[in-house]
């Protein structure tokens, strides 16, 4: 395997345009190296992003833009991010161990498309956008909701690079919670629920966005649960109904973490609890 270290985005995109699937991108390497070790992927070329200076940027200016080389730890600890997008920084803090947060990147995490990673649900709930670039199509952006397609599958083509994630300013007074269920804190989530709620002056739910990790082969937006909440006054009964709706909409995978029925049940309970925590 050859390791290339381009110094400009254009050079990196050239390699991806030439080699397509035979090239794999390395940002923090925390997902890719596991795949290499297990021989799930067998690339001819590794394209390292570490020398591309513009990807090492985190701008907070009304909205936020997080470059492809920014680590989980850098996002989690940034004061501007903590003020403006506490839901995302909470989900970043839930990622695995400190060692992995120090090396792994947010963009690498989402490009990997693993349905039980922590940040994706928070990105969906925060209405984030994913920025892609390629020689063939130039730049484009998609919403986080559309970005995740299936198990380790995203809308990004083989010659496309995730260059950044951007976030709009969050609604004033938004309430939020990220609730993760895992056997150990360092594990991938069995279920992860990210909730963003906005209450109207009369106390009813003006807006609700809910992202679910572990609820399908990709990160899911719990639109049915959101519909249950909108316009209603929060009550224990309403939150239970929203949890039930999230469970019904889910299609979790049957794997070593648990059966479909069990995970559905956990999704219902954790959605209800995350809503209650956001409202507390």
């Amino acid at each position: 395997v050859r390791y290339l270290a381009p110094t400009t985005l254009s050079e990196a995109l050239d390699v991806l345009a030439d080699r397509g699937d035979a090239a794999k991108v390395v940002a923090g390497g925390q997902s890719l190296l596991v795949l290499l070790r297990d021989r799930f992927v067998d690339p001819e070329v590794l394209v390292g992003l570490a020398e591309i200076e513009p990807l090492r940027a985190l701008e907070v200016n009304g909205g936020a833009r997080i470059g492809a080389m920014m680590t989980h730890a850098q996002v989690e600890r940034d004061p501007g991010m903590r003020r403006g997008w506490p839901l995302l920084t909470a989900a970043e803090a839930a990622v695995s161990t400190m060692q992995i947060r120090n090396r792994g990147t947010l963009c690498g995490n989402i490009a990997h498309g693993f349905p039980t990673a922590d940040p994706p649900a928070a990105l969906v709930a925060c209405d984030a956008r994913v920025h892609l670039a390629s020689k063939r199509e130039g730049e484009r952006e998609v919403s986080a909701e559309e970005f995740f397609v299936g198990m380790m599958e995203t809308v990004a083509h083989a010659d496309e690079l995730v260059t950044a994630v951007s976030l709009p300013p969050q609604p004033a007074g938004a309430r939020w919670a990220y609730l993760k269920y895992a056997v150990r804190p360092l594990d991938f989530a069995i279920v992860g629920v990210a909730v963003r709620l906005v209450l109207a002056p009369d106390g009813t739910v003006a807006d609700a966005r809910i992202g679910l990790n572990g609820a399908a082969n990709r990160t899911l937006r719990a639109t049915d649960a959101e519909a249950v909440l909108r316009g209603e006054r929060p009550s224990p009964e309403l939150l239970t109904r929203a949890g039930d709706a999230a469970a019904r909409q889910s299609a979790p995978l049957d794997d070593i973490d648990g059966t479909v029925d069990y995970k559905r049940r956990v999704i219902g309970v954790y959605t209800r609890r995350a809503l209650a925590r956001a409202l507390a």
């Binding site: 056997v183 991938f188 070593i256 648990g258």
Partner: protein, 199 residues
């Protein structure tokens, strides 16, 4: 090492002396005045020989411990009873850690001859963040089959832990889980089954 840093280190030895005093001589077969390994390990220390089975000797030991900043109690667990935080207690804690993994997490899943969880990310064992505080209480006894009544110590924390956890789940929920590890899903299933049985 503590003595090298200027601490006053007092070592309590049995009336026959620390067995290590004679070990070099026995092993080398040389009748030497100097025992270099022992001298090296014990440099700067003072010693007192106490028969801890005698109340008067225990009173002296208690008085020494009462004014000591740090007590490191090893080897003499049987005669004195090592407390939590001692090296001996640490050995038990390690066994309990393994028992917690055995009882709650460690599950090798195979399908068609393939191990589905071949990594420590999926074959889970407790890490420092999962370990509860562990207190050791000593029951002093002897094993007639062991040399001088000695008994192995390291495994003892492992053997009963999984069963103790299963009993704790029963105590808390009324549900018997008869398969380890007690994953949350198995515990939930057992609670459901117990509820159904009760009607």
């Amino acid at each position: 090492v503590l003595a090298d840093w200027g601490a006053e280190v007092i070592k309590i030895e049995p009336p026959t002396g620390d067995p290590f005093r004679g070990l070099f001589l026995t092993a080398s077969g040389v009748e030497a005045e100097l025992n270099p390994p022992f001298e090296l390990d014990n440099r700067g220390k003072r010693s007192v020989a106490l028969d801890l089975e005698r109340p008067a000797a225990r009173a002296i030991a208690d008085a020494l411990l009462a004014r000591a900043g740090v007590s490191v109690r090893e080897l003499d667990a049987v005669a004195y009873g090592a407390g939590p935080g001692s090296f001996t207690g640490l050995r038990i804690a390690c066994g309990v850690a393994q028992g917690i993994g055995y009882g709650l997490m460690e599950d090798l899943v195979c399908e068609d001859g393939q191990v589905l969880n071949p990594h420590f990310s999926t074959y889970k064992i407790p890490t420092a963040t999962e370990m509860p505080p562990i207190r050791c209480y000593w029951v002093e006894t002897d094993d007639p089959r062991g040399p001088y009544g000695a008994k192995g110590l390291g495994e003892m924390g492992l053997v009963p832990t999984a069963a103790a956890i299963a009993n704790a789940v029963y105590e808390a929920t009324g549900a018997r889980v008869s398969r380890i590890p007690l994953t949350p899903e198995r515990v939930l299933d057992a609670i459901d089954a117990a509820r159904q049985e009760r009607g």
